[in-house]
Symmetry: C2
Subunit: 345 residues, 2 copies
Amino acid sequence: MALSDRKKQILKAVVDDYVQTAEPVGSRAVVARLKTNVSSATVRNEMADLERMGYLEQPHTSAGRVPSHLGYRLYVDELMNHYSVAPTEIDQFVSTLTLRMGELDRLIAEAGRMVSELTSHPAIAVSPVAEEEAVRRFEVIQVDAETVVLVLVTTSDIIKNRICHLTFPLSDLEVSAANRALNAHFTNIPLEQLTDERITSAEYDAGADITELLIAAIDFASDVLNTVMQRDVYLEGASQILKYPEFHDPNKAMALLDCLSDRNALSLLPMPDSEHPVKIQIGAENKTSPLDNASIIMTSYHTARGAKGLLGVVGPTRMDYAKVAARLCHFAEELNHLLNHDTRR
Amino acid sequence: MALSDRKKQILKAVVDDYVQTAEPVGSRAVVARLKTNVSSATVRNEMADLERMGYLEQPHTSAGRVPSHLGYRLYVDELMNHYSVAPTEIDQFVSTLTLRMGELDRLIAEAGRMVSELTSHPAIAVSPVAEEEAVRRFEVIQVDAETVVLVLVTTSDIIKNRICHLTFPLSDLEVSAANRALNAHFTNIPLEQLTDERITSAEYDAGADITELLIAAIDFASDVLNTVMQRDVYLEGASQILKYPEFHDPNKAMALLDCLSDRNALSLLPMPDSEHPVKIQIGAENKTSPLDNASIIMTSYHTARGAKGLLGVVGPTRMDYAKVAARLCHFAEELNHLLNHDTRR
DNA sequence: ACTTAGCACTCAGAGGTATAGAGTGCTAAG
DNA sequence: CTTAGCACTCTATACCTCTGAGTGCTAAGT
């Protein structure tokens, strides 16, 4: 059943007011906010309807109304204003990030920090990962006789390294043999096929002496591919959550923070897809109880090689969705520009 | 003026009790805690003395006593028990970290996480850095025609990488020329001498074509050396601070968290030195006001190459210094073992 | 059929007061 | 020097009242 236009305006007014004040909204406050000249009694009737339909809730009999999750949902999907973002904010975002171009992990973390700062909410940044990640390039760097650094570059330009202490010294020749063998036999292979049996063929090429090194490299590679799939997660500006009265209770705040810093819990996040580039998850829509009063706005960005990462913001359900979503959206777009067009530096 | 033995015992009892209960400690509670059979009146007299001397404080006339910073200081320096740490905790610490050996930055972050978990306090982990950091090894890895990854290994085995998009394609020969030039001319040079003028000599060797690459590499190197000097700082388990009643006030909690995630503020940390391997900073002993009610326990660890990093714990001044310091100490030691002896993967 | 004025009713929160109890300092005796 | 006893202080708690915001309902107006 569709809502009348006036009901929608009233719902919108309730949300807008509640977002600002954090106090239940009474009929008079709604009247003050509406352009149309109706009496508070009329609004009361409408609000009673809206409550019956599940869009509003009443903390107790003689209090104003508060939006329910359903109410927020309708607001977000249909009613909210679409903000534009101040150019100065975008400038700030871009210029801070430009300094970090090239160091992808730092860049992502820094993007999270900026988002958090500019939205006044905790932010989550998830490092990018391609659908089919594989090792594109190995490099064995010898740092002393028995120590090498293994560096690998994945399909989506993620760079990982690991230091590796061997039990025997290695000659220059062996190092370059290992390099050749690794790049010849173990690049551009999806994770599933990167199994130990492949080592046999490589051994043949490179000489059995360096098997230990090869095993370490393959180990590392499959480790990396595994953990890259798990993604790096950065939680920035966590303390901001304490600004919101709904998280003044230390237990609630702690539950939320713990949940946000647990990367496993993040798999429950609303993933944006092509249909909904900005995904908004409101309160109990997610199953994890600590997130009951929390909403998450998520969007994605992508690198030049098409790997997708996430950028999101967490706040109380009573959140200025319009403003925050707009900012998040713009920032993600700017990040895309940075990652894709600005090839210099 | 030295304190009588009994006064010390009473001070110790007050601290021990207060640490447990978070409530001002009365004379009766002290009597219950002391082995010696004295009356509460006697204890009251002694406590009045201790207050006059500045070791105790009274929130209000009819309340028990609370240790002052001075009281904690004396407790920490002379009075506290020396705990031993349960082997199971150490095992847990070591076995979790062993999985991360080789990826230094992850290892350090993970160590922080474990410390936080096992002490129930937020933990700070600072990545290691040697006194005189320099680039030990460069490596230019070509990933496609116009893209290279610059990897560098510093004196203390810190590995950093940066992706670098050039404005022209690069041949295999040029890449290896750049590699040779970089390693020949720019390794083992302290930061101060790593200036652009050195590029001239390298150009000569490698051919002017790759100047852009060389400049990027040197840029990167000096960047890295600069930021390595600034160190990576990991704050783990921040939310734990909310468990302590002294930080139930969201403003205080936020001020502290903000301060802890600000790496500049961390320069004010108590650095452990050879004389005091475990440094304890109590409340207002540090100048930053948000840390008024907070204490920090810090210790250091070092890598095989002698680079020193920090591991620390933050809590309310009312903190179980004995237990926490003991654990922190042991964990740092274990970290040293891992970093220095266990050269196998 | 919708709107609105009026009114009785509800309830959370503010403010005030009394009470209990923990703890003190002081005094005087052991 | 220690301790029992006692008067005193002060917070925290409970309980009360009162206020005001906000409601739902009814009945009259459009």
